[in-house]
């Protein structure tokens, strides 16, 4: 058999399940692009949050503290708790998004698995740890208030604490509601599609 015949024979081979694969690839590629957009969004948010937390910490420690001249140690404890919780929250998000910075060159299957793992982690952390850190921040601010109104009468102090807690709980609830809504809109569909894709890739 000559080479031309071999060539002809070779060229009779076709891509498997051509339509499904080609269509699937479009959807998969689109999904991967969306995942990348989401990754970039998470990184941008993390960067913004890190800057805001750092500036707040600087303002609290170097500007507010000398101005307020705290009466007790509770101001510093509250400050430590608030900033510690805020930093921990920020750090948690950075750790989660860190591996995303790498360009993953694994097979599509491994890439999907890795992204799914990260998204699940982010999702669980959002749902469980954010409220916990919010409570820690609230406790810290209460301690700061406790010190700031140290010399005021008990009635005013009580009113200030009730107002602070009512405000913080409302803001917290609203922020959790919108965070969940954002999560349902941004993460859930991608997680679902990735899970479907993972299943499909396992079947191939």
């Amino acid at each position: 058999m000559n080479f031309e015949e071999i060539q002809k024979n070779w060229q009779t081979q076709q891509a498997p399940a051509a339509e499904a694969k080609a269509g699937g690839a479009t959807a998969e590629s689109d999904l991967l692009v969306r995942v990348k957009v989401l990754q970039r969004k998470v990184m941008r948010t993390n960067l913004l949050v890190a800057i805001v937390i750092s500036l707040t910490a600087v303002a609290f420690v170097f500007i507010l503290r000398p101005l307020l001249n705290p009466n007790t140690i509770w101001y510093d404890v509250g400050m430590g708790l608030t900033l510690g919780a805020a930093f921990a929250l920020g750090l948690l998000h950075w750790f989660k998004s860190m591996p995303w910075k790498k360009q993953v060159n694994l097979s599509s299957k491994a890439y999907v698995e890795q992204v799914l793992k990260k998204l699940h982690y982010l999702n669980t952390a959002n749902q469980r740890l954010t409220p916990f850190f919010m409570v820690a921040i609230l406790a810290g601010i209460n301690l700061i208030y406790f010190d700031i109104f140290w010399n005021e009468n008990i009635k005013l102090r009580l009113v200030m604490h009730i107002m602070l807690n009512a405000f913080m709980i409302s803001v917290g609830a609203i922020s959790l509601y919108y965070s969940k809504r954002h999560n349902d809109q941004s993460y859930e569909p991608i997680i679902q599609e990735l899970e479907e894709l993972q299943q499909k890739l396992e079947e191939v």
Binding site: M1, F3, I6, Q7, N9, W10, Q11, T12, Q13, Q14, A15, P16, A18, K21, A22, A25, T26, E28, S29, D30, L32, V33, N105, L106, S107, S108, K109, L201, V204
Partner: protein
């Protein structure tokens, strides 16, 4: 975005078989080849914006396919040539015509022989089998045309030798069976 999708769909429609065959030549295992093919399509989609028409579309596609194949093999870190006994595993005779069967046997032999070649030779032969010009192969591989010409001749010879050996082994097997 719709333009990108349309362009991508057109590329896939026109080149999917070629790309799949290149993947098939690069990886001995058909399942790995399918996986690689999927990955090549994803890479084409993700890097579509980088295609500026400076090179031929086919050259750009072959480059993506070959680079993905090289990376894929590095990650897999293994290359297992097909076993000769796989060649005898034929589909059900009643379902296929005699001609198709013959073609299938030849393809399996060819896959086996290609899987015995060196990795760069497999990449070269996959392009030669696609009737890609020497000039384009040289562009894809980053070699000179004359160098590619020499390499192609060597690879063709190696492949022919492997095919002959394969045929010889089959004759021996037939004789042994008759005995």
């Amino acid at each position: 975005m719709p333009d990108k999708e349309k362009f991508f769909e057109q590329i896939v429609r026109e080149n999917r078989d070629k790309l799949y065959r290149i993947c098939r030549a690069c990886l001995a295992d058909p399942d790995d080849a399918k996986d690689l093919y999927q990955e090549v399509l994803v890479k084409v989609w993700l890097h579509l914006h980088t295609f500026r028409g400076e090179a031929k579309l086919s050259t750009w596609l072959y480059r993506i396919a070959l680079n993905t194949a090289i990376l894929y093999r590095k990650q897999q870190n293994k290359h297992t040539p097909l076993l000769p006994q796989h060649i005898s595993e034929l589909p059900d005779a009643s379902a296929e015509t005699a001609h198709k069967q013959e073609q299938e046997v030849l393809l399996q032999k060819l896959h086996y022989c290609i899987s015995c070649l060196e990795k760069q030779d497999r990449l070269i032969i996959s392009l030669v089998l696609e009737e890609v010009s020497y000039k384009e192969i040289a562009e894809v591989l980053g070699l000179t045309v004359s160098h590619v010409g020499v390499k192609i001749n060597r690879v063709k010879q190696k492949l022919a030798l492997l095919m002959e050996q394969q045929a010889g082994a089959e004759i021996e097997l037939d004789k042994a069976d008759k005995r």
